[in-house]
């Protein structure tokens, strides 16, 4: 809100802390005053993560009404954030990650950034999908 802490200052602050060893930043907004007015909708806070990621190169985690696997995959695949974090989606579906892996892998046209498939040959030897296919 006017006269408060904003995204420009967040970027400057993130840069200072990155130099001091900060490893990631999770971007949300609001809470400083009951007078705030925030329009809420799917991905409404993702642009904050993108702005900080682009300006600082820090790992960013996006939050805020991310509920669908394809929606989450798109955020990561488009490079808008490095990770996505879910709360309500996880409460509604406590195996959200399993379902996302199954769902995205079946589509097989997506890049699987989210499930970690592209890291299989790297330092990560398993992905979410390995939970659903233990024999793999």
């Amino acid at each position: 809100m006017d006269g408060g802490w904003d995204i420009e200052q967040t970027v400057a602050f993130a840069q200072v802390l990155k130099a001091r060893g900060l490893d990631w930043i999770t971007l949300s907004s609001g809470g400083i005053s009951p007078l705030q007015k925030i329009a809420i909708g799917p991905n409404y806070q993702v642009p904050f993560a993108t702005a900080v990621k682009q300006a600082t190169g820090l790992n960013t985690i996006a939050v805020g009404l991310i509920t669908q696997a394809a929606q989450a995959e798109a955020i990561v695949a488009r490079g808008e954030a490095d990770m996505v974090a879910l709360a309500r989606g996880m409460l509604f579906d406590p195996r959200w990650g399993w379902h996302a892996a199954l769902n995205l892998a079946r589509q097989s046209v997506v890049s699987h950034h989210l499930t970690g498939e592209h890291l299989r040959r790297g330092t990560v030897s398993y992905s979410v999908a390995s939970h659903t296919e233990p024999g793999e």
């Binding site: 809100m1 006269g3 408060g4 802490w5 200052q9 967040t10 400057a12 602050f13 993130a14 200072v16 802390l17 001091r20 060893g21 900060l22 490893d23 990631w24 930043i25 999770t26 971007l27 949300s28 907004s29 609001g30 809470g31 400083i32 005053s33 009951p34 790992n59 985690i61 939050v63 989450a72 990561v76 490095d82 990770m83 996505v84 974090a85 879910l86 709360a87 996880m90 409460l91 406590p94 195996r95 959200w96 990650g97 399993w98 379902h99 996302a100 892996a101 950034h113 989210l114 499930t115 970690g116 890291l119 330092t123 990560v124 398993y126 992905s127 979410v128 939970h131």
Partner: protein, 226 residues
Amino acid sequence: MELRGLIAQNRIAVSPMCQYVAEEGSANAWHLMHLGGLASSGAGLLFIESTAVEPQGRITPGDLGLWDEATEAALVPVFTALRKYSEVRVIHQLGHAGRKASSEVPWKGGQLIAPSAGGWTTSAPSAIAHKEGEPAPTELDVNGLRRVRDAFRTSAKRSVRLGADGIELHFGHGYLAHEFLSPISNRRTDRYGGSLVTGCVFRSRSSRQFATSCRRTSRRCQGLRL
């Protein structure tokens, strides 16, 4: 996904979620059920709900805390189970609610609870109430700031001892660190204050100190929630 040596299976995280059922800051069976269940969600990272670094830093009386032997011991069964039965990487969120502490749970309105009704006096960068009509918090003096910084550092140490893979400091949502950063809640004229345009460096001084102090102590990967 790698964060300073911490390797998460994928890019999905379970957000920290306040459960409002801790007793005197101590975790109980519900936290084991809640976190235990979500440890097998398929997400690569699991965040433990915002945990207060001192009793008066709790948002509500039911918040988790990590300020003494008892609160640390109460989290041992939770960490032990997560470690034994899940490969999820655990990030512990630490925080201090500042002037938004001592509050009612959201579904009952979230308003301040008076000390006479089981709440406590809150502290903040400046003696400005969050909501009009609410009692103002106490302005933190230099000793108070030092106490909070040390509390962050000690809690980080306890968290590492419990086995957290990383620590996230809650610097958003109008809680203490955010209150220092924002000119709306920080009207100080000392080295921890300053105007919107020129004061950024000063207003962020205390928050930077919380962060660097935790980092030095924990030697784990560290993030911020803003």
